[in-house]
């Protein structure tokens, strides 16, 4: 069974990114489960594959509007598709870096891949029930999807 500490590590990675890079903290919403079907994702999703002690994936998914504001806040005027992807990849990287530091060799964490889609669904690589952790930033809401078995 997935333990709380493991999920917290992923949450901390995302929180850390917003604190440091966006210099504005993110509010963690109350988490919940997806009990039926695949979880829905926003326009941009960074996926980190996990193997080792646990198998599955962790995603950070955010809407275009949020990334746009985030880029502006970081004094980045280029809001092209590539830059959006880079940004989401960077958040995912911070999350995976944090996890690597905390979990050590127990978890084998892949380099993030970035997926852009409009109102897509994320199909988890494993049969575990996905945990959704809403991340509210200003008026926007992103999600962390933790699907590990």
């Amino acid at each position: 069974m997935l333990n709380e500490g493991e999920i917290r590590t992923f949450i901390q990675g995302a929180v850390h990114y917003f604190e440091v890079s966006a210099r504005q903290p993110v509010a963690v919403g109350s988490p919940y489960l997806i009990t039926d079907g695949p979880p829905s994702v926003h326009e941009y999703t960074g996926v980190i594959g996990i193997s080792g002690k646990r198998k599955g994936a962790v995603c950070f998914t955010a809407p275009r509007s949020m990334l746009m504001v985030l880029l502006m806040r970081m004094n980045e005027t280029d809001t092209s598709e590539d830059n959006m992807k880079d940004l989401i990849g960077e958040v995912a990287n911070t999350i995976s870096g944090n996890a690597r530091r905390d979990f050590g060799r127990d978890f084998v964490i892949s380099v993030p891949t970035v997926v852009a889609s409009d109102n897509g669904k994320f199909t988890p690589p494993v049969g575990a029930r996905p945990f959704i952790i809403p991340l509210n930033w200003r008026s926007h809401s992103a999600k962390l999807i933790v699907c590990l078995e």
Binding site: M1, L2, N3, E4, I7, R8, I11, A27, V28, G29, S30, P31, Y32, L33, T35, G49, S51, G52, G104, R105, V108, I109, S110, V111, T113, R129, F131, I132, I133, P134, N136
Partner: protein, 729 residues
Amino acid sequence: MIKNVSTAWTRAQRGPVAFGVLVLLFALAVLLPGFRLAGRLDDTAAALRLVSEQRRQPDIVFGALASVRDRLESFGYVEEPLGELRAGVKELDGLVGKLTADPAAFGTFDASPVRAVQSSALLKVEMETLSKSWATYKEALAPIIEFTGVPYADSESSGVQLNPAGRKLTVEARKALVATRKETPVLVAATARVAATLEADSARLSTYLRFLMLAALTGAIALGVGLVYIAVARRREGALLVNAQRQTADILGTVKEGLFLLDEKARIGATHSASLERLFKRSDLAGISFEELLKPLVPEKTLQTAQRFVEVLWSERTRENLVKSINPLQEVEVSFDSGSGSQETRWLEFDFHRVKNDSKLVNLLVSVSDVTPRVRLARELAESREKAQSQVDTLLGVLHVNAAQLRSFLSDSDAAMKMVNAMLREPAREESAFRRKLDSIFRQIHSIKGEAAALGLGTVEGRAHEFEDALKELRERSALSGGDFLPLVVKLDDLFTHLASISDLVSRLAQLNFVATAPEAAAVGGAEAPAAVAPKPNDPISETLDQLVERVAKDRGKSARLAADGLGTVPADYRRAVKDIAVQAVRNALVHGIEDPEFRKRSGKQAVGTIKVEFRAEGAGGYRLIIEDDGAGLNSRRIREAAIARGIVTSEEAARLEPKQLLSLLFRPGFSTQDVADEDAGRGVGMNVVAELVKEMRGRIGISSGEGRYTRFTIVLPAIATVAAGAAA
């Protein structure tokens, strides 16, 4: 393997060396005597040639002497025979001188007749005879040889006459002839003997030399044969070596294990198996240190332990088997970058063997195997064993439960958990919203727990209880945020998984018609329990309550029976709520109301307590649910004290409360008269949940109690349509 190759090399080197020594010895054994023999033969030949040349000289000298005398007597020309005589003497003198000279006067490589004489004792004797005879001979000839001048005097008067010198010479010549006539045969014989001895010596030496040559030829043939043998052997050994090397290469190229040697400085040898490169995904292995090999793959601590382990292995005092038992690299998890960004995890097993040469430790042979499939299989096996055990536990936990009850419970619980999830999912950013969530979740979980307890599903009850603990902990926090709900979600996930596994089990058992037969078995097994005496209930709520009474009574050392009535007529819309209320109220009755059997007897009551649960329809489509026990009744003093102790009211407020108000405290959140919370009571949520449920159904609740006699809860529920209308409003 390595040792064999080195032995082969030694043998290959030893052959030629031995052969070289043999050739040297052969050369010394043949050439040195041959050299000496050839020298002696040369000396003998020179001596023999000399003696042979001068062999006739004594006769010539004698003839010349006679001729001198004859010429003197006939007044002939004497100078010619005198010259011959002198020449003969000189030759013989030379012969004797050469055969008796100092051997040192001749060089090593010069033919030396005297060395031939010196080397033979017989020749020495003969030479002595010859020398003596010659000395005598020569002495006799000396006056003649020394003669100079003319022996004649020519005068007119007497013609040619011997002059005095001539006469003396004639006398001497006659004397010499007498002397030499006797000595000449001696001298000739002596010379002949010397010649014969020299010839014999020459023949002997020639024979020796032939034998030596024959021996040399034999030796040379033997050496030749030896040389051929060695060449063949070397060729064979070379072929063996090449073959051994090829076999070694084949083994190293084919073997699955990574094999390599570690020297004393913990460096990897130049040769290793091909698999090693595949296992470590690198090719620069030759010559690198063990540390360099492991560092990128294992944690620092494992690396240090492994290095110490290798050091211990090098210490020959420690027993190899003992050391191997503490091998820290028996199952090492390593991760490699698969190249596409992801990591590949494998498990490697290192095994160490000491390699000794002449009982001296020279290397450590390290074999590395990829044991990933084995480790994965073992883990899967452990997981499946754990899963199977957990399924057996679950199975044992559900076997006694009626199938219909279980299905009803599973369906209700699934709905409750989905409700909890929906509550969690509801967006909330404010404190009050979070607290509302907590309260709603609490009711759902408590309901699951209640029914699980009633059905005796310990594993579910335990999980729900822990869930409640987590909820309680959150409730007590002064500030809440979304992240605080994470433990609840984890527990919810666990509960979902657990109930799914029960559901799966139930479906499978249903296929076997197993669960359906279980209640009968349970009833027979529980024949001693008072509840079992009652007629068998025939609706799921009664059955649930019956089991609850039986279990809680047993746990608390009490005796009680359930008297259920009309529970089979509960409308579907109320079924869940009625069940939750009844479960809570019956549990409260057992825990707080029914006294223990001894106490009851002393109080003049029946030892077995009775809990009545009655459901009936009332006029105008309403319903009435009554839960009544014949226990101790409500104790105003205890209620007051508990309310004060739990901070629900102050002591002043409590003192002012009227009996009816006092009873209403029972429905306040957090109220309980039990000091320590357990799975049945004490958390102070039960009656609050009842009140909330009644409120949700727009019903009313009333309590009446007679101290020492009874407690009765009366719940009045409106008609279903009214509830729906209320909800819609």
